[in-house]
């Protein structure tokens, strides 16, 4: 298969997933579009050099995760606040919610768990996104981020704890 055809296949298969991952990580459509394009430029440049040691999908996810993490790091370094698109769109009905934990999520500011993700450490946010949004297993996340499985578990645990803390702080 020639490079052009191979690349078109990758666009058709992965564009949606990559954009979705970037959108959940970065919280804005504009940044997600920019990041998605960066990912595909890297894929195009690296396609010839891809030696097939790992699965193509793992390689693509690895690029995606790294690009999004570097966007978040850059954002943190420059202290840029990006209004999250989800801040406006998460509208939920709090009727029927019983525990205070559930009410934290559906608070009166209509700011959901996704909006709070931007406050997490980029790598932790990446683990949470890969696990919950992209439904990757521990092993897959470990391969994508090149982290030991134990570290993935720790990041996931820390991410949940931080989210809980953020929600509590928000309520107080």
């Amino acid at each position: 298969m020639n490079k052009k055809k191979e690349f078109d296949n990758i666009v058709d298969t992965f564009a949606g997933n990559i954009f979705n991952h970037a959108f959940r990580m970065l919280g804005s459509r504009e940044d997600a579009e920019e990041a998605t394009q960066d990912v595909f430029i890297k894929i195009h440049r690296g396609l010839n050099g891809f030696r097939g040691e790992a699965k193509v999908s793992t390689w693509i996810w690895k690029i995606t995760a790294n690009v999004c993490i570097s966007y978040l790091n850059k954002r943190k370094r420059n202290n840029v606040y990006v209004p999250l698109d989800d801040e406006k769109t998460i509208v939920v009905d709090s009727a029927g919610m019983q525990s205070p934990e559930e009410l934290f999520i559906y608070d009166e500011n209509r700011t959901g768990v996704i909006a709070l993700m931007s406050k997490l450490d980029p790598v932790v946010a990446s683990v949470i996104t890969l696990f919950y949004i992209d439904e990757k297993s521990y092993k897959e996340i470990s391969n994508i981020l090149e982290l030991p499985m134990g570290t993935v578990a720790t990041h996931l645990h820390r991410g949940r704890e931080n989210l809980k803390q953020l929600m509590q702080n928000k309520k107080e």
């Binding site: 564009a15 959108f23 195009h44 406006k88 999520i105 996704i114 949004i133």
Partner: protein, 145 residues
């Protein structure tokens, strides 16, 4: 069973995405421990929140741009610039132009250094004055267009 042990086991089950019901030992602990009840409720709520999110679909414009990358026979260039990137480039222009002019007009190193300093100070002033509008959108969500 201690809370730590409960959480470790419970997390392990959630991490494995096991849909089976909790083992009896965990159920026993959960029945009497209010802290762990809150903790598990929180985790279930988070999972539900994530599962409710609809996937974001890329725009046709982005897909066209991505396909165009594949048409480049040599190294592809970025074509899909955002407003922020363009602004950053525009703000750097005076610096680049002044350096070019200095070199073209045969200025020596001292003149060049002066130009660089003055332009950098001006650019930084402009960036700082624009920052609240372009880099930090502080409008409440309902006021943004």
């Amino acid at each position: 069973m201690q809370c730590d042990e409960f959480r470790r086991n419970f997390n392990q089950l959630r991490n494995d995405k096991a849909s089976v019901s909790l083992p009896v030992q965990l159920q026993e602990h959960l029945r009497y421990c209010k802290t762990c009840q809150e903790y598990t409720t929180f985790l279930y709520a988070i999972e539900e929140e994530f599962s409710k999110l609809e996937p974001e679909i890329p725009s046709e414009e982005l897909l066209t741009t991505l396909r165009a990358i594949g048409n480049e026979s040599v190294s592809p260039v970025k074509v899909f610039y955002t407003k922020k990137e363009i602004l950053r480039f525009v703000l750097r222009l005076p610096l680049i132009v002044s350096m070019l002019l200095t070199v073209l007009l045969g200025g020596n190193a001292a003149v060049l250094a002066q130009f660089v300093l003055v332009t950098a100070a001006t650019a930084s002033m402009i960036i700082n004055s624009l920052k609240p509008y372009y880099f930090q959108n502080t409008c409440p969500p309902n006021l943004t267009t």
